[in-house]
Symmetry: C2
Subunit: 242 residues, 2 copies
């Protein structure tokens, strides 16, 4: 039997080169959207609605019972919203049973692109839910695109490293003819044992650590502390059973 | 004094994200356009005219005295042209004093994009002329973009490795806040001593080795065997004195 294929897409700007139709697309936005999504669902959020603007966030928040609106700019909660983008803000006593309406830029853009391009399934991945993502991909046995959200379309290391972590775990079960995947896996293998130190070299860490977010960022590169599978369905991410 | 900055652009599709105005753009197309360009100029070609179609290649060849038209598809010389894309086809006795009109796809596309986006200088880089490129960049002391030609916009390893080789050599003299550059340099450092073996894992090597081009490809990852600096001026690449 032929193995399904797997590709890594290093920036949303490169998505259109690939035919994602009928495939699973994994949205990766390590710092911090997809790490926060995994954490909130792991701690019992009912669902998460990713939106690409503050206006939509506020409007959907108003229409939705038991909702929390969230979003940050420059390390601060955006005016008019209730919470920020940090996974640490969503313990069980805050988020259980709630709908999180989350504004993100890079990740939500990629998610909508993948949807418009005909992706069959969209899930989100981050180190906190690495194992859940790998288990799901192995079980589904479909073609996979690991989609890095990047930063304003610029390739970033943290999303690439997560793609590499997935590849490292599932590669025997996929056909991989993709230099980006080869590079991602080698970078992950090289740094899996010094992830905290290495992640500090990324441009995004520099950007966010100016806002005192080091602890947050360390959490975001910690594997398997929120092993849930966020699956996109009818406009929401929910924790999928599989 | 502030150091000039350096960025790596992993695919032509990502060029527009960056402002290349007033900067040096290094066009990288390791397999095999920029390796062939360096070799032909090193062996005495008068100039090289890169074109993006077979029709233009034939038309310019007809207008240009002492010219050679060249281009390949699937490892064979294109009908109507005289030579192929292999650096081995351009020894001194063939190319000296001639104008090479060369059709390439990925590299020429990137070159024209950089030109249209206002790059101040455009040079080409490949392992055979690695040292010349590095010496030139150090001497010019301007902002630099290392532009990988990729393959149909898909990120490729061989161009990334060359970017890494340049960074490894010049990094002390530039400000580098760029995850692609960090990744490129680490991949190069990891594989600089097993380049022949590692390059065999790239998708492009697989593609071309089907046409019996292994020796060609080995040459293309060999450093400093054609140390000349191809500089784009008035529609041609010439060997620049500096």
């Amino acid at each position: 039997m032929n193995k399904p294929f797997l590709y890594t897409i290093l920036s949303p700007e490169l998505l259109d080169i690939y035919d994602v139709k009928d495939s699973i697309v994994v949205i990766i936005d390590v710092f911090r959207a997809t790490s926060t999504i995994a954490t909130a669902l792991y701690n019992g959020a009912n669902n998460i609605i990713p939106v690409d603007s503050v206006e939509k966030c506020i409007a959907i928040g108003k229409q939705t019972p038991k909702s929390i609106t969230a979003g940050e700019r420059d390390g601060k909660v955006i005016e008019g919203l209730q919470f920020g983008n940090s996974p640490a803000e969503y313990p069980k006593n805050v988020i259980e049973g709630k709908t999180l309406v989350l504004t993100t830029t890079n990740g939500t853009k990629l998610l909508h692109m993948a949807l418009n391009n005909g992706a069959k399934e969209i899930i989100t991945g981050s180190f906190p839910n690495l194992q859940a993502v790998c288990n799901y991909l192995l079980k589904q046995n479909k073609n996979v695109f690991l989609g890095c959200s990047a930063w304003k379309n610029k390739v970033n290391l943290e999303d690439t490293l997560f793609a590499g972590a997935v590849i490292n775990s599932v590669k025997e079960h996929f056909t991989i003819h993709c230099d980006s995947s080869l590079m991602a896996e080698q970078m992950y293998t090289l740094h899996k044992n010094d992830m905290y130190a290495f992640a500090r070299l990324t441009t995004h860490w520099h950007r966010l650590s100016n806002f005192g977010l080091d602890k947050d960022l360390e959490y975001c590169v910690t594997a398997n502390v929120a092993n849930v599978l966020p699956l996109y369905k009818n406009g929401s991410l929910i924790a999928a059973k599989f």
